[in-house]
């Protein structure tokens, strides 16, 4: 019969310890990476932050000649382009998710779902080159003149649509971003809608509700947290997206009231200027921009994950 070889057993135990430690070390490395990112950015940003103080985030000036830097214009550009993207992508993503979960014939469900997910796999540089050569001329010729003529004269909001149609600019960047984050928002919302128990929906139909009424009064209230999580996840992407924006934003360090004017974002400033930056303060200011972006996206993504996790837990417990 089997003889228990004590040397063999001891060796097995050593293997076990080694394997377990290796997996644990790899898992802890994930934590170290995030910590390392935060620390190295802080260290790189320190010269700029200590030199400019809090004024770094409140000043618009960005002048490599006099070595004066302020982050207000990139922050403004990042926020505005992301807002435009969300305004366009959230309703569209919501529509796609609804179509996929409630309306789509089962035959098409899978292929359209895959197509939307493939859109998410296209690298951002492709969106950038598409935005520059296809979307920007299209907006310049057909959409922006219309906006200038029809919305430009309206008081208040008209200010957003004045000036020459450059093609590239804040608005175009927002539109490209919208196309980029659309698949993320649509896919997350679809997954969230799929977690609504069929019984709830059928109760709605049983009471004689129309499809839209079931969606609006049953599916949406039930999925509120998850939808917000999906939107925040898309926002996180939009805020940090680099290449797609860099191609079409125009890289101008100023804040213009008009959305048609060129601007800049945090990530596109870094991408455009980092390798050309001469002088420690210039480089450090760009890294400080990176630190700001890191803090903003970290907060947004953390909130998104917390919301989606809450939903996951609820989906596991019966109702």
């Amino acid at each position: 019969m089997a003889i228990i070889d004590s040397r063999h057993a001891a060796r097995q135990l050593i293997y076990e310890r080694v394997f377990r430690s290796a997996t644990l070390a790899a898992a802890i490395l994930v934590l170290l990476i995030l910590g390392g990112v935060a620390l190295s950015l802080l260290r790189g940003a320190w010269p700029a932050l200590s030199h400019f103080g809090f004024g770094f985030v409140t000043r618009e000036i960005w002048n490599p000649v006099t070595d004066e830097y302020g982050a207000l214009a990139p922050i403004y550009g990042t926020v505005v382009t992301s807002l435009i993207a969300m305004l366009l992508a959230v309703p569209t993503g919501f529509g796609i998710a609804l179509f996929l979960t409630e309306l789509c014939p089962p035959v098409l469900k899978r292929s359209i779902g895959t197509a939307v997910e493939l859109l998410a796999a296209v690298p951002s540089i492709i969106f950038g080159i598409w935005g520059l050569f296809v979307l920007a001329p299209l907006l310049q010729r057909h959409v922006q003149p219309w906006l200038i003529d029809h919305i430009g004269p309206i008081p208040m909001i008209g200010k957003l649509f004045q000036g020459p149609p450059f093609g590239i600019g804040v608005l175009t960047a927002g539109v490209v971003l919208a196309v980029m984050v659309l698949p993320f928002i649509a896919a997350t919302m679809r997954d969230v809608f799929d977690t609504v128990p069929p019984m709830l929906k059928e109760s709605g139909y049983g009471l004689g509700a129309t499809t839209w009424e079931v969606i609006w009064h049953v599916v949406v209230p039930h999925s509120r947290v998850g939808m917000l999580g999906g939107i925040m996840l898309g926002l996180g992407r939009a805020l940090g997206e680099t290449m797609a924006v860099t191609f079409v934003i125009g890289n101008a360090h100023r804040i213009s009231t008009s959305l048609l004017a060129p601007g800049t974002t945090i990530s596109s400033s870094i991408a455009n200027e980092f390798t050309e930056a001469v002088g420690d303060l210039y480089t450090s200011s760009l890294i400080a921009l990176g630190l700001l972006l890191f803090l903003i996206t970290f907060a947004v993504i953390a909130i998104a994950q917390a919301m989606l996790r809450r939903l996951e837990r609820r989906a596991l417990s019966p109702l």
Partner: protein, 284 residues
């Protein structure tokens, strides 16, 4: 109109809007693919695969960039994937619901959606500044850092799909957990792990921003890992924004090559996954 008609009309309007939204999404995908194919095919020739990136105004190809991209992607995967897989194994098999695992999962999901340009700056700070110059190895490390969370997530998900009965059977034979993982769980989750690998490759092979500050670019053929190296995304970025027609043409060809590669990788990952699900279903 009575109430019923209003309700029906409202239903019709919103459902039509939903269909329209889907059509917009699909139209975007079609438009992007169409531009890529129509512009890219024109630039594709045997030269693209046999010649180096040209100076402005003359003809050339993308050979050095293709080589650089392949090398850095491969190195990045070889460094990042094993770490991600081991960490995913820890979460699925050892840590499970412990507090540490919950924190790691949370942090990993944040890294998964963190802007890649931040990772580029991070590697710039810890490698490029220390070495004093841009290098291919720094680019590969940046790509590895991006691959880790992708690989971790898919590994954990795939290992969780392995029926616990199989693990229990192995444990009942007296196997240590590592033996169970290596001899039972990994083989059972093999196709899932391959899927994760493909997705990770797809994810990092189009990354541009992190390479800008790490590998940078090189106009010539270079195989030195400690020197800057040409790579497809950065060449596309540089060439597309240039005023030269030849360069723009090459940028389109490069964009087509990258996109086709990534779409093929993603689609095969999906096919493997669906094959696995159907065979897994018949087994149980």
């Amino acid at each position: 109109m009575n109430r019923r008609q209003i309700r029906k009309a409202r239903n019709g309007v919103f459902l039509a809007l939903s269909v329209a939204a889907t059509l917009v999404g699909l139209a975007c995908l079609a438009a992007i693919l169409w531009t890529l194919v129509s512009n890219g095919i024109a630039g594709l020739s045997s030269r693209v695969f046999t010649e180096m990136t040209p100076p402005p105004g003359s003809e050339g190809g993308l050979l050095n960039a293709l080589y650089g991209s392949a090398v850095m992607t491969l190195l990045g995967i070889c460094m990042g994937s094993p770490i991600g897989m081991l960490a995913g194994t820890y979460l699925a098999e050892y840590g499970r619901t412990s507090r540490l695992s919950t924190v790691i999962r949370f942090i990993n999901d944040i890294l998964l959606s963190a802007p890649s340009i931040i990772i580029g700056l991070f590697i710039y700070e810890i490698l490029v500044v220390r070495m004093g110059h841009f290098s291919a190895i720094a680019g590969a490390v940046a790509l590895a850092v991006i691959a880790i969370p992708v690989s971790l997530r898919t590994t954990e998900d795939m290992l969780n799909l392995v029926p616990s009965g199989m693990k229990d059977a192995s444990a009942a034979l007296g196997a240590y957990p590592w033996r169970t993982v290596v001899s039972v769980v990994y083989p059972a989750a093999r196709s899932g792990i391959v899927t994760g690998l493909l997705l990770a490759i797809a994810r990092i092979s189009g990354e541009t921003a992190p390479l800008l500050f790490t590998a940078l670019n090189d106009q010539f053929w270079s195989t030195k890992l400690t020197a800057p190296m040409a790579n497809l995304p950065v060449v596309i970025f540089q060439f597309a924004l240039s005023p030269y027609k030849d360069w723009q043409q090459l940028a389109w060809a490069g964009a087509l090559i990258i996109t086709v590669t990534i779409l093929v990788l993603s689609v095969s990952a999906r096919i493997i996954l669906s094959l696995m699900q159907t065979s897994g279903g018949s087994k149980s």
